[in-house]
């Protein structure tokens, strides 16, 4: 059947504007941009969105900077009888705050954003574009890496003003940083992909606070009271904090914490791949 005979309403013009809108060139020529460009664009969009979000900025930059100044300028880190030498205090403070910054961005901020994207159908819509699900996740990971890079630059800059002096061994911090990003991004996706957005919001903030207080991020696990040292050392937060402290203070790779972190990253990535729900 031809179109002209099947839609009298349209063809007689009843109610349809006599002067339609601009003519568009809509000839079908569907094709995808190259993979890397798609992922880069998604990462850039996610990073821009995060940097424009006031709550996210508070969590990822303002609070870490405040904590860095507080721990470098006061004797907060002198807990559990461990007396910190004045010379290593800035490095110790910076290491702990970098660990906190990774948790803020990769876990809390990312989980909340992904949780609401999931509830709002953003994950489903983008999964139908050339980006696909894998490109979407790659873009999110890229955005986390970009934001952590911004945090490292800002916090290291503040650290320099507080007396931190980088050494060649400081570069060893990159390994725990990357493993920490992997572990906490996976944990954030696991949370965002399995519970409701509101529950993700509450849990991601609560976990951030608990890890700050007793997870071995800013305060070393061995400085914590009761059974917490053993627990914190086995958590990804304690492992990340310890590995960063070893790298920035002593210029060493802390093997056991790195292995703990790698195990968490592998387990969380597996669990997220297994249980993540897209809608």
């Amino acid at each position: 059947m031809s179109r002209s005979t099947t839609a009298p309403g349209r063809d007689t013009g009843a109610g349809v504007p006599a002067s339609p809108g601009p003519r568009l060139d809509l000839r079908p020529r569907g094709g995808a941009a190259p993979w890397w460009r798609r992922v880069r664009r998604q990462g850039a969009l996610e990073a821009r969105t995060a940097l424009r979000n006031g709550e996210q900025l508070l969590l990822t930059l303002v609070i870490p900077v405040v904590v860095l100044i507080a721990t470098a300028r006061t004797r907060v880190l002198d807990v559990g009888g461990a007396l910190v030498g004045e010379g290593e205090r800035p490095a110790l403070a910076l290491a702990g705050v970098l660990a906190l910054a990774v948790v803020s961005t990769a876990f809390t901020g990312q989980a909340i954003a992904t949780g609401f994207d999931r509830r709002n159908g953003v994950l489903r819509l983008l999964a139908t574009t050339p980006l696909g699900r894998s490109g979407l996740l790659s873009g999110k990971c890229l955005a986390v890496l970009a934001l952590v890079a911004v945090q490292v630059v800002v916090l290291a800059g503040v650290g320099l003003t507080l007396g931190w002096r980088p050494e060649a061994g400081s570069l060893l911090a990159l390994l725990p940083l990357l493993l920490g990003v992997a572990a906490f991004t996976s944990l954030g996706l696991l949370l965002a992909g399995t519970v409701r957005a509101e529950a993700t919001l509450a849990a991601a903030n609560l976990v951030w606070f608990l890890l700050l207080a007793g997870g071995g991020l800013v305060l070393p696990p061995e400085a914590l009271p009761g059974p917490l040292p053993a627990i914190a050392a086995a958590l990804p937060s304690g492992a990340l904090g310890t590995a960063l402290r070893e790298a920035l203070v002593d210029g060493r790779l802390a093997l056991v914490p790195l292995l703990v972190l790698a195990a968490w990253a592998a387990a969380a990535a597996w669990a997220a791949a297994r249980w993540f729900r897209w809608d």
Binding site: T5, G9, V16
Partner: protein
């Protein structure tokens, strides 16, 4: 396009079954959608429209039957299909923290040869809120942005789930105009709707769905031309059985509201009108507003899907 396979339509849904928790939401649904045509999947809420389209988009896996889009399986061949298919979801799904134009440019950038973004902005009237964050847009503004995002990649197949829900009349006409242009450019457009007017005005082919099954399909004209109607007003309570007896067999006469008489199942020619007039004369009543009408798609739809609320 080469991958379509000879002679097969761009979208072929065959005996599709989809269950949620053991309940079949889509229950043996079959239809196909042609290139260069708008196919409307029309049905009441809960009829299975969105689930059917989600299976076509690769967002849901069928529990039975098959879905082919451009000759491919949406669930298995998503990577090959996604660049060639445009999707607008019922719940939007646009990133809420980004600006409207930023989102459209983003989706355009995922494609190799997108429609110039400015052209779509003009055609769908997006300029007035181009810099507004998606979360602050009104429902109608989001809806138009979502249509633009579905079309910006020059898709061969477009799935629009309730494209004009919540739109004001001007925006609706703008969306219809753009959808018509996509169709005229040769794309296969599949849209779901529960708006009769949308199906009647926009669709070349209507698939009426209820309870997860196709209950009727055809062009809007085919669906409505089988019967015409004749109606008139007169004093209430006339003996309709007597009038029916005077008319050709197969005609039925009813008084749906007091004083309003409706003849259905009739070919409403001058002869029938004359019979009605003379019958009225013998009963000493004046038939006011005696006129023939085509059954509307809404009449057909309500007959097919029932009048009870669900």
């Amino acid at each position: 396009m080469g991958a379509d396979g000879a002679g097969s339509a761009p979208v072929v849904v065959d005996s599709l079954v989809k269950r949620y928790g053991g309940r079949a939401v889509v229950d043996g649904l079959t239809f196909s959608a042609a290139a260069g045509a708008v196919t409307a999947v029309l049905g009441p809420n809960g009829a299975g429209k969105t689930t059917t389209i989600a299976c076509c988009e690769g967002l849901r896996r069928p529990d039975g039957g098959s879905v082919r889009v451009l000759g491919l399986d949406p669930a298995a061949d998503g990577a090959a299909l996604r660049p060639r298919v445009g999707v607008m979801l019922q719940d939007g799904g646009l990133p809420t923290g980004a600006g409207a134009l930023e989102v459209l440019r983003h989706v355009a950038g995922l494609h190799s040869d997108p429609v110039p973004v400015d052209d779509l902005v003009a055609a769908l009237g997006l300029a007035s809120f181009a810099r507004t964050r998606v979360r602050r847009l009104s429902g109608g503004q989001r809806q138009r942005l979502a249509v633009a995002c579905a079309l910006v990649g020059r898709p061969e197949v477009v799935f629009l789930d309730e494209p004009s829900a919540g739109l004001d009349p001007q925006a609706r006409l703008a969306v219809w105009d753009v959808v018509t242009q996509v169709r005229d450019a040769g794309a296969c457009v599949v849209l779901s709707t529960h708006l009769m007017e949308e199906a009647e005005r926009l669709a070349d082919h209507v698939v009426v769905v209820d309870g997860g099954r196709v209950v009727a399909q055809g062009s809007p004209q085919e669906l409505t031309r089988t019967e015409s109607t004749l109606s008139f007003s007169a004093t209430p309570g006339l003996p309709v059985a007597s009038l029916q007896a005077a008319l050709p067999p197969g005609t039925s006469v009813a008084e749906p509201t007091a004083g309003r008489y409706l003849l259905t199942g009739v070919h409403a020619g001058p002869q029938v009108a004359a019979t009605v007039a003379s019958w009225c004369a013998t009963h000493d009543v004046l038939p006011e507003g005696l006129g023939a009408g085509r059954r509307t798609l809404e009449d057909v739809f309500l007959d097919l899907t029932g009048r009870s609320l669900r």
